[in-house]
């Protein structure tokens, strides 16, 4: 693993000769969490990867296909990435295409309008999923009026309002030599990487680092949001205020997530699914954010069991702040996290994704190793303290309930 600069652009390079493949990812930290118009980061990346000044839509698609490559975008609140993967003997060509997309997007008016329609359809289609319906309602309430309150794709009104000028400005702000990080992982040499970046990225404007806008997160007061849904199942998502990745309790809350969810032997799974047979899907989540996050528990279930399930969920959470977790149980959870960590990082795609994410958000690429060490240091006392601190606060509860008297049958 090495980090170096070419023409002022930071490069993170990891060689791996196991297979003849390579990933190149361009990360930027100017992402959805810094938006003034929701959905602009996503729309901008989509438009950039459609066509360039050199290549129209059809030509770009053909050129990617001609080297057997795949171009993709990864959007999150703290970072965005536009990436290309290919066989390593096509590395130079694939990097040329990636640079073209980053430096020379065409921003064709009619393509922008068409992509906006597609994005609007994807936002509407979120209402066809019970979990997304609940998750979106939760974020709207919890992150009220901040950029984190919207799905990455934005909302209907915001996306409709985005103009070509807005997109061009966003591109200039997010994808310049100072803001981006290029991660290359795979079967290519450092010299090849240097030559290719020098050759294809030299025209990238230097740009300037802009101050990170301050987000004023609202304070959570215990609240319920009840949605009457078109689904036959009911759904509960209950969330508590939880800290960001830099907080001293971050690793402890990640351990709690695996103690309660993620695994078949996790407490929520065992109590609510295995012992009571109430749900198929029951889990805990703690999104990794650089700013504020939340700790949530959720399940899909029959509406008649909502009351019972909610009581049980609360009991299970509160119990962590009453009875200390045994060292044996904690050890098992830590083993699980360490094991899955290795399994998850078998592919170059995942490795380059984690490295870039950590680096671009200011944690540093070495954080990925530190993270595991922090997980292994968590003690029963840490869990006890964190549970007391976070799970006694008011929760935000979102429920999606089937309509009382559906006018017609369900999807079936």
């Amino acid at each position: 693993m090495e980090i170096f600069k070419v023409n002022g652009i930071k490069i993170l390079y990891k060689q791996n000769k196991k297979l003849p493949i390579v990933w190149a990812r361009v990360f930027t930290g100017v992402a959805a969490g810094r938006e003034d118009t929701a959905g602009i980061a996503n729309l901008c990346a989509r438009i950039m990867s459609k066509s360039t000044l050199k290549r129209n839509v059809a030509q770009l698609s053909k050129d990617i296909d001609s080297i057997g490559a795949s171009l993709e975008t990864d959007m999150d609140y703290d970072f965005s990435a536009i990436s290309i993967s290919s066989l390593s003997n096509y590395f130079s060509q694939s990097l040329e295409i990636l640079a073209d997309v980053i430096i020379n997007p065409a921003f064709n008016e009619s393509e922008i309008e068409f992509e906006k329609k597609n994005v609007l359809a994807s936002i509407s289609a979120r209402r066809d999923s019970i979990s997304k319906t609940a998750r979106d309602a939760f974020a709207r309430e919890y992150f009220n009026r901040t950029p984190f309150a919207n799905p990455i794709a934005g909302n209907i009104e915001s996306v409709k309002s985005i103009s070509k000028e807005n997109i061009k400005n966003w591109r200039a702000k997010a994808y310049n030599a100072r803001e981006i990080l290029i991660v290359v992982a795979g079967n290519v040499s450092k010299a090849e990487v240097k030559v290719a970046v020098e050759k294809y990225f030299s025209a990238l404007p230097k740009g300037k680092v802009l101050p990170i806008p301050k987000t004023n997160f609202p304070k959570l007061s215990g609240k319920r949001v009840n949605i009457s849904g078109k689904f036959s199942q009911a759904y509960i998502l209950k969330g508590y205020t939880a800290p960001d990745i830099k907080n001293e309790n971050f690793a402890t809350l990640k351990v709690i997530t695996a103690l309660l969810g993620s695994r078949m032997s996790a407490r929520l799974f065992v109590e609510l699914r295995e012992k009571l047979g109430l749900a198929y899907e029951v889990n805990a989540l703690y999104p990794t954010f650089v700013n504020k996050s939340y700790f949530g528990v959720y399940m899909g279930l029959d509406k008649k069991n909502v009351g019972l399930a909610e009581r049980k969920m609360e009991e299970i959470l509160k119990d962590l702040g009453i009875n200390k977790v045994s060292r044996a149980e904690l050890k098992n959870v830590q083993n699980y996290i360490s094991g899955v960590y290795l399994l998850d990082r078998q592919t170059l795609g995942r490795q380059s994704y984690y490295l870039g994410w950590r680096e671009i958000t200011g944690l540093g690429y070495k954080y990925d190793e530190k993270y595991l060490k922090q997980i292994l240091k968590v003690t029963p006392q840490d869990i006890y303290k964190a549970a007391k601190k976070y799970f006694n606060n008011p929760a935000l509860t979102v429920t999606v309930m089937p309509e009382e008297k559906p006018k017609t049958a369900k999807l079936k």
Binding site: L87, R263, S265, G277, N335, G339, T347, T408
Partner: protein, 424 residues
């Protein structure tokens, strides 16, 4: 990438097939157990039983009672899950190399000595009923069932994997055990082990564990050949936000050399942004939000899928345009450039697929259990042999009428326009 010299295939004395691949590049191991039982083996009276059995195998076995299987796997840093398909059920564990021996012992025990505790069966009915409810709340799952029922009429591929709530509520423990005993026999099983292992020792261990399962009487094979049918479009209205459509046609079975052409042909039709369907229907005519195509090999009559989403007002145009693209290939064929791009992309995907032990174990087990073990060794050479003429002939043979018209069936979910739901 060719199946390398580190892969061994062995048939144990009881007929159970084993695939072992050594790769010491990281200290991990993946074990996948495939049993050739799924929706195709079910009568209406037991619809969904293969999937229910899959759930119940996690409820303890003779030497690993209660939930000790999942607990042991997870406590030693592993991941465990299972899946049921039309024609196989798969149990897989991805874990640390140090846990390999225990992993094999446990998987062998649950697949031959499950306890099926009566009280656990009762509780698990509730879990599966919730899974069924979730299935019918999801447009993609509903559409998949509609599509297979449109395409398959005579063969058992028309059967639903998730099954019916009625069966799950009522099926007796005796019936469950009888079904299990009929199908979980070594002659219907494949075990794939990939990772940082000693192949000889693993072979011995498999002999001492999976090798001890008694042979059974192979049940009558289900009818899995679908005679050619007339294309049909099945449309249903539902509370969805836009139109979802699955279209396609019947393809070759796994034993046919045409499966290689099928992968190339469907890549050219809908496998990438440069494909015929994507470039024409999405980027050219702007009729769809998304569209893609692929081919799924099964033991019997395979399926070529085309998945799309669009504004409901475009439904007729989309169907017409898909037909037009297929007819264009039947009439005019494809270009050498398209063929080159498809072959290179498939080769690239194959390399990326080999990054993880879990994908390799799954891939090996899957091809073997559906009777196409030679595909593992021949895949890339099979793809390399395809000519432009083969692709044209493929569409003519499988997706065309004698006169060259497209023969595509579709299932469509359309919004019922009853307004938005919930608080939106």
């Amino acid at each position: 990438m060719k199946m390398n010299k580190n892969i061994n295939k062995v048939v144990l004395k009881n007929g159970l097939q084993v695939i072992i691949e050594k790769d010491a590049s990281c200290p991990l191991v993946s074990v996948a157990v495939f049993v050739r039982v799924g929706a195709v083996d079910e009568s209406v009276e037991v619809s969904g039983l293969s999937h229910f059995v899959e759930h119940l195998l996690f409820k303890g076995s003779k030497n690993f009672p209660q939930d000790s299987l999942s607990r042991n796997v997870e406590n030693s840093g592993g991941y465990i899950n299972a899946a049921t398909s039309k024609e196989y059920t798969c149990y897989y564990i991805n874990t640390q190399k140090s846990a390999c021996t225990d992993t094999i012992k446990m998987l062998a025990d649950i697949t031959q000595n499950p306890n099926f505790p009566a009280d656990e069966i009762e509780k698990e009915r509730g879990v599966v009923l919730e899974e069924i409810a979730r299935h019918f709340d999801d447009p993609h799952s509903v559409l998949f069932d509609m599509f297979t029922q449109t395409l398959y009429k005579k063969s058992a591929y028309k059967n639903s994997i998730i099954g019916t709530a009625k069966v799950i509520k009522n099926v007796s423990r005796e019936k469950i055990i009888e079904y299990f005993k009929t199908h979980y026999i070594p002659q219907k099983m494949t075990v794939a082990v990939v990772g940082d292992i000693n192949p000889q020792k693993i072979k011995e261990l498999l002999n001492q564990t999976f090798g001890k399962i008694s042979k059974g009487i192979i049940p009558k094979s289900p009818q899995i050949t679908e005679p050619k049918t007339t294309p049909k479009t099945l449309t249903k209205k539902a509370r969805v936000e836009h139109a979802y459509m699955l279209s396609g046609f019947l393809g070759p079975c796994v034993q046919s050399p045409d499966i290689y052409t099928a992968d190339v042909a469907m890549y050219i039709l809908g496998g990438s942004r440069a494909s015929r369907l994507y470039s024409r229907l999405r980027d050219g005519l702007r009729l769809v939000y998304s569209i893609s195509g692929s081919f799924m090999s099964v033991k019997g009559t395979g399926t070529a899928y085309i998945s799309s989403a669009f504004n409901p007002k475009n439904k007729t145009k989309v169907i017409k345009a898909i037909n037009a693209e297929v007819e264009n290939i039947i009439k005019n064929g494809i270009t050498p450039e398209e063929l080159f791009r498809a072959k290179l992309s498939i080769k690239t995907d194959w390399n990326f697929l080999h990054e993880t032990f879990s994908e390799r174990a799954y891939n090996a087990g899957y091809w073997n259990v559906i009777g196409g073990s030679s595909v593992l060794t021949n895949y890339l050479s099979g793809i390399e042999r395809i000519s432009v003429g083969d692709v044209k002939a493929f569409f003519k043979k499988y997706a065309g009428t004698p006169k060259g018209a497209a023969k595509i069936s579709s299932a469509v979910l359309l919004p019922d326009n009853r307004g938005k739901s919930g608080n939106f």
